[in-house]
Each structure stands twice: as structure tokens, then as C-alpha cells.
């Protein structure tokens, strides 16, 4: 069996924990990323709140305009406004992040529960399956599925999601196994509760609780992976306003027009950073209150 990995193993650092209890307000390191994510979600719901332009409208005469008052983030090779495209890309990227995590968590929880609650043989089979999947780097695994499923956002979500399954499944498995052997599970058995009730009321909630943090951080991670797939030409087709695709479209002009790649890249970084910081804040909060 793999030893159950806890989040505190994965992410050290509770130095800021003392801030949380002193004041009511969360620290700036949590508030600012939250604000950024809220703005991003608004952009995803209604991009016209931020820009009036059309993300796909071409204006060849205005190609490669550097960032300025007319075009905040400059324009690309066909004269499309990059700021507008980045804003419109938020919907796709968030959808990708949330969707991919939903796909991977669904599969990971299913595998983790089967492995963690099944008999000795089932447990071993799941363990081996995960070991085999683990031997492929996430991106390779995602590439494998993306190349089979074809282009577009749906396949991209599924491919990115599956690519992340081994990591999540191993964590769920560890949590389920440790919850299964916890004293309160035996105490519940001794009270005469049925296995179904014990799984529902003790094992599931206790195994899932630490995963809240993982899921939050996972969204940012999934955006990076799916952008990578798009960059490799396996995601959304150009000229779709998707951050990874935009990176890919701009790579030939990096020397001449840095802004074409810089701004989509910046937003990928900021989004990932924000989800990670919010995730770590949640982690400290939950760890502070739980044994």
C-alpha cells in the first residue's frame, strides 16, 4: 500500500496561521486572490462588463499594435484586441479548470472508494492500476486522451481531467484507508450501525474534507495543463479566444510582439496563483480547527 499522503505533508508552512485568529478579516494574501477570482468569474459570466469589442473581429491594418490607450494589451497578427480576447478567454479557461477537476475528482473518488473499501484483492488491483497510470507524466496521459478524443473544449476537459486522475485517486485512497481504520469507525461498528451508514456518515465526509483544498488548487493546475494542450494544438482551434490557444498563436512572433503571448500567459499565471493562495488559506483554516 502507498502510505496516505496528507496535505500538511505536501504543503508545509503555518507561519501565517497566527494572523487568522487575531483578526476577523482574512489576510490580504487571501483577500486579493479572492477578488481577482471574483472578477474573473464575472468576466466569464458577462465579458461585456469589461469590454465592448468583439474578440474575433479582425482589423489587419491594426496588426501588432503594442499595448497603449487604444489597445490596453495590444493587438495580435490579425489586429484583434488582446485585452478583449483575454477577457473572453476567462469563460473557457474557468470552464476548463472546473470541468477538468470535476472529471478527475469523480473518477478519483470512485477509484479511491473502490480501492479503499474493497477487499484485499480489489485494493491491490486499484493500487497497481494507479501505479501504472502514475508512470506516465500527467501531460503525456492527457495528450494520449486528447489525441484520441479530437479537438474542442469538451475533449480538452476530459483529457485534462483524466490526466490528473492518478494523483487525486491516490490521495482519496489514502484518506479513505485512514478514515476506514479510524477509531470512530470501529466505535460506530460497535454501536451497531450498518456499513452503508458508516461510509455515508463517517468515511466519506472525513475522507473528502481535506480534498476541498486540493480541489481549489487543482482548478488552477488544470488550467495550466489544458493551456499546455491547447498550446500543442490539441485544444480549442484558433482563432478561439482561449488562453492556451492564444499563447500558441503568438509563439511565432515572440521576438517581434511580446505582448501577444505575454498577456494570456500572465492571466494563466495569475489565475493559478490565486487558486493556490485561496487553497492554502482554506488549508490553514481547516487545519487550525481540525485535529
Amino acid at each position: 500500500m502507498t502510505s496516505p499522503m496528507t496535505l500538511s505533508d505536501a504543503l508545509p508552512g503555518r507561519a501565517i496561521a497566527s494572523h487568522i485568529r487575531i483578526g476577523r478579516l482574512p489576510p490580504a494574501s487571501a483577500v486579493i486572490p479572492c477578488l481577482f477570482l471574483v472578477l474573473l468569474i464575472l468576466a466569464a459570466i458577462e465579458p461585456r462588463l469589461f469590454t465592448a469589442a468583439n474578440p474575433l473581429a479582425i482589423a489587419p491594418r491594426e496588426a501588432f499594435q503594442p499595448p497603449g490607450p487604444a489597445h490596453l494589451f495590444g493587438t495580435d497578427q490579425s489586429g484583434r484586441d488582446i485585452f478583449t480576447r483575454v477577457i473572453y478567454g476567462a469563460r473557457q479557461s474557468l470552464l476548463l479548470g472546473v470541468g477538468a477537476v470535476a472529471v478527475s475528482m469523480t473518477l478519483a473518488i470512485a477509484l479511491g472508494l473502490i480501492g479503499g473499501l474493497g477487499g484485499r484483492i480489489t485494493q491491490r488491483a486499484v493500487g497497481w492500476t494507479l501505479d501504472v497510470l502514475f508512470s506516465f507524466p500527467t501531460l503525456i496521459l492527457a495528450l494520449l486522451f486528447a489525441s484520441h478524443l479530437g479537438n474542442g473544449i469538451g475533449p480538452l476537459i476530459i483529457a485534462t481531467g483524466i490526466g490528473n486522475v492518478p494523483g487525486y485517486a491516490r490521495m482519496v485512497l489514502g484518506q479513505v484507508v485512514s478514515a476506514r481504520h479510524a477509531g470512530y469507525v470501529e466505535a460506530a461498528r460497535a454501536l451497531g450501525h450498518s456499513p452503508a451508514r458508516i461510509i455515508r456518515r463517517h468515511i466519506l465526509p472525513n475522507a473528502m474534507r481535506p480534498l476541498i483544498v486540493t480541489v481549489t488548487m487543482g482548478i488552477g493546475q488544470a488550467i495550466v495543463w489544458s493551456s499546455a494542450l491547447s498550446f500543442l494544438g490539441l485544444g480549442a482551434k484558433p482563432p478561439a479566444a482561449e488562453w492556451g490557444t492564444m499563447l500558441s498563436m503568438g509563439r511565432d512572433f515572440v521576438q517581434r510582439a511580446w505582448w501577444v503571448t505575454f498577456f494570456p500567459g500572465l492571466f494563466i499565471v495569475l489565475t493559478t496563483l490565486s487558486t493556490t493562495m485561496v487553497g492554502r488559506y482554506l488549508q490553514r483554516r481547516l487545519e487550525g480547527r481540525l485535529p
Partner: protein
């Protein structure tokens, strides 16, 4: 022993320690004074939070970051300890004052063989050459009573038993033959018979002229070795003086409480025979073996049986690995025996082969067989409040949800907890309160039997006494029967009508408690009896003279 007379003493006068930062800063030790003279032993006794460990650590300059240690006098021989800097402390530690840390398993480097660990203590002070250090290590291991020192010196801590680890740790502290040795809880977490061996070793060290400072929560341990005792409570010395005097004529109420709480100091109060003599839990010829890590079958429980009658208590006593907890798990129906059978409330409860009972058939009866564990905290779902924990148990017993609120109130009252406790989480409660919640949970469905697996082992003595008292009252009120597992014969003596002594998976002796204790037949039982506090000089008289 001419050398002993010139050995310096450790003098502590008016020691005060302040710990913590900001709003948490508080004084944990105030105005504590004592002198550790060569060839004498002083004991600091107190319960958790009494400041005894902090006191000990301050004497070797290890009180910790942010600790403020002050004293009217803090002297070792002619050296003023309060003026030492870290480098001077390092020269002193080990060479002049040896320190035995509390937990041998975590205090020894798990990746290093024991011989190297001790040799390093020597090398750190530039003692001898590599070859002479090697000889000294073997000599030390031999002197602390470790058999086959050549072999043991090459083993890692995890390859040694608890008793040998503790000896190795003491050997490390003794490496440079320090005139003063401080031992923090040297016998805690050791089996009773091993405890007696370590105490004998400390006694020898004392007689060789070393001054001992023993830190312990256990008055019984202290009474066997200390010449002087300091009773600490909330960082203050409640009482101090020669051991025999303090134990036989305690002046302070807290000392009396501590002495009175020592389990087994008094035999069980006599009580009327229960109305019924119905056998509620019966085990016959239980056998259980496990496959060990080396692939060899190990018999954990070998031909164990008992018959528990309503309203009575059977105590099972034994050391770690004696099979007592396995017996408890089989009795609870959480583990199927390889042979033998258990009957609960007149019906088959557990068995093997043909007689195996399906979990499905047991489930309806389970609420009537309660359980209380050693570590209550881990037996509660960390997300739940006390009300949810008790509500869940009531649910299991088929109590309709509408009655939960009143019943939870009743249960809390029964275990003498305020009703406000219902809204709190176990994490916010003290050890004793948690154990009361665990007892309340086991009572939820009016059980016929409660299996108590080391229910007071993790508690301070005074809390231990309260919990045992509560169990006793509940038995008289409700007529519940207990199967009581403990490593502590003193505890068993206080609660049991009948006792089973287990050794190596077998029952080596059984019978009415006072008979077994009064006239132990088996060698192991004799050792256990010899180690219980009631038979320790000084406490015997106290136990008898104390009012019920």
C-alpha cells in the same frame, strides 16, 4: 565511596519560569526550591500541566525559546547556572548533568545503532579515543543491565524492546558519569514488571553516588526510590519533605488527593450481591493467532474463557502483547476467533467455522454491548459535537429523534457533565471529560455489558480516580456488567469482582480479586502484585487510614 562525598550538589532556590508569547505569556513555575545531593534522589511529582517537566528542562538550559528562567539561586557545585551561555551549557550538559528524556523511542535516533548514539555522547565531550569509546560503550550497556551488549550496540532503537530502549537512553545519559542525573518520566509507558527493573537500575545508580532528580506523575514510582519529594500543582510546590513523611502524613489537601487517587491503594468497597445471577457475556476456549511480519503464526489468545454475570465486573490484567486487547475485541464481536465461542445475553455472539455469527445478525444487539476505549478522542468523529455523537448512539439504540434532546441531557447528567457540554466538540474538552462522553455514549442504549479497554490509562491519577468512581456508581445505578481490561493491577483491584491474569496469550491465574491478590500463585502475578502501590512502603498505611 570517598569520591561521592566530594561530588557537587545541584541547588535550586526560588525557581520561576515564564513561557509563551504575547497574551499567552504566563508563569508556569513559581518559587520552587530543592537540592539534589550526591547519592540522593529528589522527585518532582505532579499531574499534566503542573510544570514539572519545565522545571527539569530549566536545570539543563533547555526551557525553550522565549522562556524566562529566574531564581534566587541556581547552582551546580560552585557554578552559577543562571549566568551560563549556550556554549557553557553544552559543556555542562552530559558531562556534569545527565538528562534522560521522556520518550525513549523518539529520543533516540531511529537510524543509528545504539552503540553509535552512546559513543557520540562521549565524543561530544572529547572523551577518549575511538577504541576506548567503543570499550566504554559496552561497559555502559552492561552496567545498565542490557544483556549481550556486543549485539545490542549494533542494533537500532526499533529493534529493542521498550525496557531495553529506556536502558539504552539511561546509558547515554550516564556515558560521562555525570554527578547529577535528571530523568523525565523514566518509567512511563513501560509494563509494570519492566518498570520495576528500571527503578532497580536507578536505585543502583543512586547508590553509586549519583544525585537523581526524578520527574513523575506517578506517586507509586516515586515512593520506591526518592528520598525527598516535591509535590507540584500549577507550577507551585504544594508540599515537600522526606518521602515517607509526605506520603504517610500529607499536610496539603492536594497531596492527600493524589495519594487517595492512586489506584488500588484501597480495595473495592464491599457491595450487596446483585439481584440476578444471569450470565450476560460468556466466552469459552477462545483462540486467535496472527501471521506476524516474519510470516510465522503467533498465538495472541490461547484458550481464554470467562463468564460475566449481570452487575458484576471481570478484570483482565496483563502487559502489552499478553492478548488482553485481542480478547476484548473478540468479546465485542469485532474479531472472529479461530476456535471457541462467545455468547451474549443468552444467544450466540461470535464463533468459528460452523458456529460463526454473521455481522448482520449481531447488529441489532450491538447497542446493548457498549465499549469505552483508552483514547476517547480518536473514537469520536472529529467533525461532530458532543450532541451529535450522543445522538448518533441514541439512533443506533432506536431512540426516536424527537426524544434525543431530553435523552442527551439525561446522559450528560448521568456522567456528571453540565448540559452545555452538548454543544462542544471533543477537541475542546479535557481528557477526563472526553472519557465521560465516551461512557455516556456507551450508556445510550441501556447496555447490559460495557467492555472497557484501558479506560483510565491515559488520564491523570486524580481524574483516573473520578472516572473509576463514576463507573462504579453507574454499575450500582443501572446494573451494567463490565469487562475491564487494564495493565494496572491497582486499577483492576479497585473495580473488579473477579480477575483474569493474562501472560503470553494464556490465562495464568484467575479467581476472586482479593484472593488472587492476597495469595498470588503464578510467578508473573507475584511480580505484578509486588509492583502495585498498595504494597509499597508508606502508602499501605495511608490507604488504610484514609476515609472511604
Amino acid at each position: 565511596m570517598t569520591e561521592a562525598t566530594v561530588r557537587p550538589a545541584l541547588v535550586v532556590e526560588g525557581l520561576a519560569v515564564t513561557l509563551g508569547r504575547g497574551v499567552h505569556r504566563r508563569r508556569v513555575v513559581s518559587d520552587v526550591s530543592f537540592t539534589v545531593a550526591p547519592g540522593k534522589a529528589v522527585a518532582l511529582v505532579g499531574e499534566s500541566g503542573s510544570g514539572k517537566s519545565v522545571t527539569a528542562r530549566s536545570l539543563v538550559g533547555l526551557a525553550g525559546d522565549g522562556a524566562d528562567v529566574t531564581a534566587r539561586a541556581l547552582r551546580y557545585g560552585n557554578i552559577d547556572l543562571s549566568a551560563l551561555d549556550e556554549r557553557a551549557w553544552r559543556r555542562l550538559r552530559g558531562k556534569d548533568i545527565g538528562f534522560v528524556l521522556q520518550d525513549a523511542l523518539v529520543s533516540l535516533d531511529p537510524l543509528r545503532v545504539v552503540g553509535d548514539e552512546i559513543a557520540e555522547a562521549l565524543a561530544a565531550h572529547g572523551w577518549g579515543t575511538a577504541a576506548s569509546r567503543k570499550r566504554r560503550v559496552l561497559e555502559l550497556l552492561d552496567s545498565v543491565g542490557i544483556p549481550e551488549p556486543e549485539l545490542r550496540a549494533r542494533q537500532r532503537p526499533d529493534q529493542l524492546s521498550g525496557g531495553l530502549r529506556q536502558r539504552a537512553l539511561i546509558a547515554t545519559a550516564l556515558a560521562l558519569d555525570p554527578p547529577i542525573l535528571i530523568a523525565d518520566e523514566p518509567t512511563t509507558a513501560l509494563d509494570t514488571t519492566v518498570q520495576a527493573q528500571i527503578l532497580a537500575l536507578l536505585e543502583t545508580i543512586k547508590q553509586r553516588g549519583t544525585g537523581l532528580l526524578i520527574i513523575s506523575h506517578d506517586l507509586a514510582v516515586v515512593s520506591r526510590i526518592a528520598d525527598e519529594v516535591v509535590v507540584l500543582n500549577h507550577g507551585e510546590a504544594m508540599e515537600q519533605g522526606p518521602t515517607a513523611e509526605v506520603l504517610s502524613r500529607p499536610r496539603h489537601a492536594y497531596t492527600r488527593l493524589l495519594i487517595n487517587s492512586v489506584p488500588g491503594a484501597r480495595p473495592r468497597k464491599p457491595r450487596a450481591a446483585p439481584a440476578t445471577t444471569e450470565t450476560v457475556l460468556e466466552a469459552d476456549g477462545l483462540v486467535k493467532s496472527y501471521v506476524g511480519p516474519d510470516g510465522v503464526d503467533r498465538v495472541a489468545v490461547d484458550d481464554v474463557g470467562f463468564a460475566l454475570k449481570a452487575g458484576r465486573t471481570i478484570g483482565i490484567v496483563g502487559e502489552s502483547g499478553s492478548g488482553k486487547s485481542t480478547t476484548a475485541r473478540i468479546a465485542l464481536g469485532l474479531l472472529d476467533p479461530d476456535h471457541g465461542a462467545v455468547r451474549f445475553d443468552g444467544a450466540p455472539w461470535a464463533g468459528s467455522g460452523e458456529a460463526r455469527v454473521r455481522e448482520r445478525d449481531r447488529r441489532r444487539q450491538r447497542p446493548h454491548l457498549g465499549v469505552v476505549y483508552q483514547d476517547p478522542l480518536s473514537s469520536f468523529d472529529p467533525r461532530w459535537t458532543v450532541a451529535e455523537i450522543l445522538g448518533d448512539a441514541l439512533d443506533a439504540g432506536g431512540v426516536p429523534a424527537a426524544e434525543h434532546a431530553t435523552r442527551i441531557g439525561e446522559l450528560l447528567e448521568r456522567v456528571r457533565l453540565p448540559v452545555e457540554t452538548a454543544g462542544r466538540r471533543p477537541l475542546q474538552l479535557s481528557g477526563g471529560q472526553r472519557q465521560r462522553i465516551a461512557i455516556a455514549r456507551s450508556l445510550a442504549a441501556s447496555p447490559k455489558v460495557i467492555v472497557c479497554d484501558e479506560p483510565v490509562s491515559a488520564l491523570d491519577v486524580s481524574v483516573q480516580a473520578q472516572v473509576l468512581e463514576l463507573l462504579d456508581e453507574l454499575q450500582r445505578e443501572t446494573g451494567v456488567a463490565y469487562l475491564f481490561i487494564s495493565h494496572d493491577l491497582g486499577v483492576i483491584r479497585q473495580v473488579s469482582d473477579e480477575v483474569l491474569v493474562m501472560f503470553g496469550g494464556r490465562v495464568v491465574e484467575r479467581g476472586p480479586t482479593e484472593e488472587v491478590l492476597g495469595n498470588p500463585q503464578h510467578l508473573f502475578t507475584q511480580k505484578l502484585v509486588a509492583a502495585i502501590p498498595a504494597h509499597v512502603a508508606g502508602l499501605d498505611a495511608v490507604g488504610a487510614s484514609l476515609p472511604g
